[in-house]
């Protein structure tokens, strides 16, 4: 006999044990994160890989792997026919899209539904409705959730976009209607910048999502970005897992995320999480999702509680580990259970928050050169290991960072009793995370975490655009004398022993005398 709360529906035919072999339609750290959850649940895993990823860590981590095409994402990770064919050939019965790539493509979810593959995410219809900014806004308004003024003009020509900007009113954001992650997004403050911004946004949107349709939205000045993790199941239950503060963004790309938000009072937290649950209920949401809000700055009368629905992400988020950090729950594991038809493992009252978690995203990019993405071989890569610190990564020492993919190398998440303890713990972990061969933003992340405004929790979405250049400029470039001394010691030993660096350019050599005397390096 089924519990009375379980509604009779088609999905009741789906049993939790139905997922036996999961294809992960992604790469990098998120593919490995999903594989870890599968191992705990006893689910077999199928990785997919492009030409460039044949020796990538996510391939080695899975039980089996299927080649899906050349390095160009459009012909591999973004190819629905190739992914479905891979799932068929590997005998998979379910597919997890991860984030990015096709994770918010209703077409992939639909293709899975047609191929009788369990799609680990909401139904294609929900993805489509939330992917349409107009439809999402209309739904939110009818559910009593406040929205920011904006529109997707029917006329997508340059002229049509100009008229839409006029209607919405400057300042505005133009952004890809099809996706998030800061790709294909431009802010416009002066009418003279409209055409350039529109064309650049359209090109980036087309390149990233295969769809150049643009949305024009009023820019809420210097808001905070607060998002609420929600979760729904096939049985009508929807819960929230509190908020994440993601205001530390550089050009709309999140850099540091945390939970709880230092900005929310208990009253506003209750209102914003309640609005998120209403939003999810309005679309009969299933599986993990995130409702993003802009929290406006305090107005003249001191009201600091106005928030607006921004968008709903119908997938797992990059920053989900901070929620796992404060709740102790495993979101990916729950995604798989819920996708297979099981009831959500938690009632709302059972979801509690303890302490504070902060995540830093380690990117292959050079803060000293305008944050240019970096590619190349990683010569040395050692992750920090300490209590309260989690590292989710998709790269390994001697691996290649490909020019074709997102430059995210790893996420470092620190959890502690208080925000300040978590902050210090994260800084300590980042200082013990050497990555050589490819420039990264680690020193920049430390600079952000040590910035007085971040320490005080006084951040908004304009914080890094205003302070980022100054933080990057403070990164030391001159090696301290003892670092030069260590290099000289390595040089000297290699000369004396005629040791050639190994194939990976490592200075290690097993026959070395571990001691070397070096005088006079002190200044």
């Amino acid at each position: 006999m089924r519990p009375a709360s379980h509604r009779q529906s088609l999905e009741d035919d789906i049993r939790p044990d139905m997922i036996q072999r999961l294809l992960i339609a992604n790469r990098g750290e998120i593919a490995i994160r999903i594989i870890r959850a599968c191992r705990e649940l006893g689910v077999e895993t199928v990785a997919v890989y492009s030409d460039d990823d044949a020796r990538a860590p996510h391939v080695a981590a899975a039980d089996r792997a299927v080649h899906i095409g050349p390095a160009t994402p459009a012909e591999s990770y973004l190819s629905i026919p190739n992914l479905i064919a891979a799932a068929r050939s590997a005998g998979a019965d379910a597919l997890h899209p991860g984030y990015g790539f096709l994770s918010e493509s209703p077409a992939l979810a639909q293709a899975c539904e047609r191929a009788r593959l369990v799609f680990v995410g909401p139904p294609s219809g929900v993805i489509a409705r939330m992917g349409s900014k107009i439809e999402a806004r209309r739904l939110m308004q009818s559910a009593g959730v406040p929205v920011v003024p904006g529109e997707t003009p029917d006329d997508q020509s340059d002229q049509g976009l100009r008229r839409a900007v006029d209607r919405v009113g400057l300042p505005v954001l133009v952004k890809a209607s099809a996706g998030g992650g800061g790709k294909g997004m431009r802010s416009i403050r002066d009418a003279g910048d409209i055409d350039d911004a529109v064309r650049a946004a359209r090109r980036e949107a087309t390149a990233a999502f295969g769809d150049g349709t643009l949305y024009v939205e009023r820019l809420v000045d210097r808001p905070r970005h607060i998002e609420v993790q929600i979760f729904g199941d096939h049985h009508g239950r929807i819960v929230h897992l509190f908020e994440r503060e993601c205001s530390a963004q550089r050009r709309h790309q999140k850099v540091i995320e945390e939970s709880p938000s230092p900005a929310l009072t208990p009253v506003v937290r209750e209102r914003i999480t309640d609005a998120a649950v209403r939003a999810a209920a309005a679309v009969e949401y299933r599986n993990a999702g995130t409702v993003e809000f802009l929290l406006a700055r305090a107005d003249a009368s001191g009201n600091a509680d106005r928030f607006y629905f921004l968008e709903m992400n119908t997938r797992l988020q990059v920053e989900h580990p901070v929620t796992e950090g404060i709740t102790g729950l495993d979101l990916v594991s729950a995604q798989l259970l819920v996708a297979a038809g099981a009831a959500l493992p938690w009632a709302q009252e059972a979801v509690t928050s303890r302490g504070h978690a902060i995540e830093a995203r380690v990117y292959a990019e050079d803060p000293a050169r305008g944050f240019l993405p970096q590619a190349g071989r990683i010569l040395l890569y050692r992750e920090p290991r300490m209590p309260g610190v989690r590292v989710d990564s998709g790269v390994a020492e001697h691996g290649e960072v490909s020019v074709h993919y997102d430059p995210l190398l790893a996420k470092v998440i620190a959890s502690a009793e208080t925000r300040e303890q978590a902050r210090i713990r994260l800084v300590t972990a980042l200082r013990q995370f050497p990555i050589l061969g490819v420039r990264t933003n680690i020193a920049f992340l430390i600079g952000v975490l040590e910035h007085p405004r971040f320490r005080a929790g006084e951040i908004d979405t304009a914080f890094l655009d205003a302070e980022g250049a100054a933080i990057a400029a403070q990164i030391p470039t001159e090696a301290p004398p003892f670092v030069l001394a260590a290099i000289a010691a390595a040089d000297e030993q290699e000369r004396e022993q005629g040791a050639e660096p190994d194939a990976f350019g490592s200075v290690a050599h097993s026959s070395w005398d571990p001691w070397v005397r070096l005088n006079g390096w002190r200044t």
């Binding site: 993919y405 670092v483 350019g505 001691w515």
Partner: protein, 133 residues
Amino acid sequence: MPEDRIERSAAGVFSVMVDNRREIIYLAGPPSDRWAAWNGNVYRVSADTGTRSGQHVSPLGPAGHSLVAPMPATVIAVLVAPGARVAKGESLILLEAMKMELPIRALGDATVKAIHCRAGDLVQADQELVELE
């Protein structure tokens, strides 16, 4: 451990005592191009140029100069033609790499002498794209 001793404690890992603290230094790369990490900072030390610092040495001068690709990328647009007068900061070439657009801008007022790439080209790091005079 004596203060002036540098110990190699593992592959690529060195330690040294500085002011009663053990500092851990990670090294990689050949002597001509060493990478070092210490305390969250990374230094690239080139023996060839003698620049014992992590500063990237730009090969570009401000006036008559050529612009090179900063990384492997695809040329998505060439915005100027030979003979064109360009102003400092003007975008000359649009590159695309890792899903991001990278504009290549003039470092000073100049005239375009030659263009060495076309839209659609895959270019390598440090490959010359535009010559200015």
